[in-house]
Amino acid sequence: MDEERLEAAVGMSRKWDAHEAGKEVARGVIQKLSSPPSFFLLFSTIHYDKHGGFEEFLNGVWDVLPEGTPLIGGTVAGFMNNYGCYTRGATALAVSYPNMDVAVGVGHNTKRSPRKAGKTVTKKIKPKLDKSKFQNKFLFTVISGPTLPKSKMFGTMKIIKDTKSSKILSKLTNVSTRMNQIGLGRETEVLNGLCEEMMDYTLLGISSNDDNKYLSHYQFFNKEFYKNSVVVLGFNTDLKICLSTSYGLKPTGEKAKITGSENWNYIVKSLDNKPAVNVFFEKTGISKEIITEGNIHRITPFLPIGCTHNDGTLHPYPVASFLGNYLLFGHDTVSTEIEFLSASGESLINAVDESIKSLPKNPCFTLISSCAGRLETLGKEIYQVRSKIMNEIGDNFLLLYGLGEERKDSMKPPHLLQESFNVASFY
């Protein structure tokens, strides 16, 4: 590694006006670099949709950013950096380093044709990176996360108590996802398409989000912004890449078997041949009446179910919606054997230590993806997470809170996770 020639910088804006915020966040980064960035990661909350729009936001960024800089990013529920923790604003991280070959790509219609979208990106970036002389390979992905279909009859479909509606709601979710691209994120299929020919890459990523209303979110690619797309930054470098994941979840010993599922395994219809919703409340021991539209996503992250992938990776699933008798999850179940897990605020915060302390000290820069459910659950306590990160890895980091976390070790299958804390550090 050519330590003297590596520069990383984090920028930040709290301005409300989209154009001004774009300019400020880019200026904050560029001023700290002595040479043009090799890439630029840009994230914001959804607020700029109503305060000038994302076209103006990107115009502001490109008023400052050198022409041709590879840029990807998207909207997230919140973020954390060396400046603080925020659920409103914009942030960016850029790196300038000569020993790095960079390519960016975009694929569209991730909810209708997810595998194809992933493969499209591979076709764009792989040929460029294959020519690189550098051996360490990394992908950073931003994939459009799920959105909740809204209907006059069922509202935003977080909690539907009428058990007779289960079948129609499942059907509606499927049709809405494929036809209108409002519904399930299908990020696993995007990742499978993307990684099929790029198995030797390490990957970290985030699913885009809004302010946890799950209605509308965006992905940024150079000067454009999109919906229902996947944007990817790939680079080959001589930097050492370390990836670590932790959860802070405890097994309760309560187990069940998925005996009926559909919609790409996002919907679990039955557990142990009984209605899945009934088994959930029976095994977790909480009363159905406790969960409301207002608190569902503050409670279910404490009571996720867990499946273990055949490569040993734990997939936690906080319940996204109760659809009659069915449970809807934010990503596809990867095994039929499940265990009920539990979490506390303390265990979620302490999971940070597990990830970060397992990595070597003093990284050049660090990217972290975590779950918006953890942010919603911890609220202002995420400042404790920030203190832990700052103590261990210093200033050059970006933590993003999205609707799903993507991670992959080199030569292993990719995973879409939820309720996880994933750190990629570069040395």
Partner: protein
């Protein structure tokens, strides 16, 4: 009021979709309001009853803030009122949000506002001490 930096912090908080009203207040007294002095019309309809309940809560704050009371919230009708108490004082940053709002996300920005206001209060206190020295 217009030049008050605390009012500017409140302006920022009030721009969030789910913050319907916010203020820095103590028992029987609103110390600082956002610059345009206006709340979401939804709150105006229930303001009288929320205001009365707030005064009762400030009684609790007065009693326990020295003991480390940091936050209180209450839910009335379709609204939640959040109190972020400034340490060792009877003052709190108060926000009224819809009962179904994503409170975790709002909490983060409430905390940012509380930190900024504390910083401003500290600077104001320092200026006062310099002026009287």
């Amino acid at each position: 009021m217009r030049d008050d930096p605390i009012a500017v912090v409140l302006d920022d908080l009030l721009k969030l979709d789910d913050v319907l009203a916010c203020m820095v207040a103590r028992c029987n007294m609103i110390s600082v309001m956002p610059t345009n002095d206006s709340f979401d019309p939804q709150v105006n309809q229930v303001w009288d009853i929320i205001h009365r309940a707030m005064d009762d809560v400030f009684g609790v704050i007065r009693e326990y803030s020295q003991a480390g009371l940091g936050e209180i919230e209450f839910r009335m009708q379709d609204f939640e009122t959040l109190f972020y108490i400034f340490p060792d004082t009877e003052n709190a940053l108060v926000a009224i949000v819809p009962a179904l709002a994503n409170k975790g996300l709002i909490e983060v920005e409430m905390e940012n506002a509380r930190r900024e206001i504390l910083k401003i209060m500290g600077e104001q206190e320092k200026d006062k001490m310099l002026a009287t020295a």
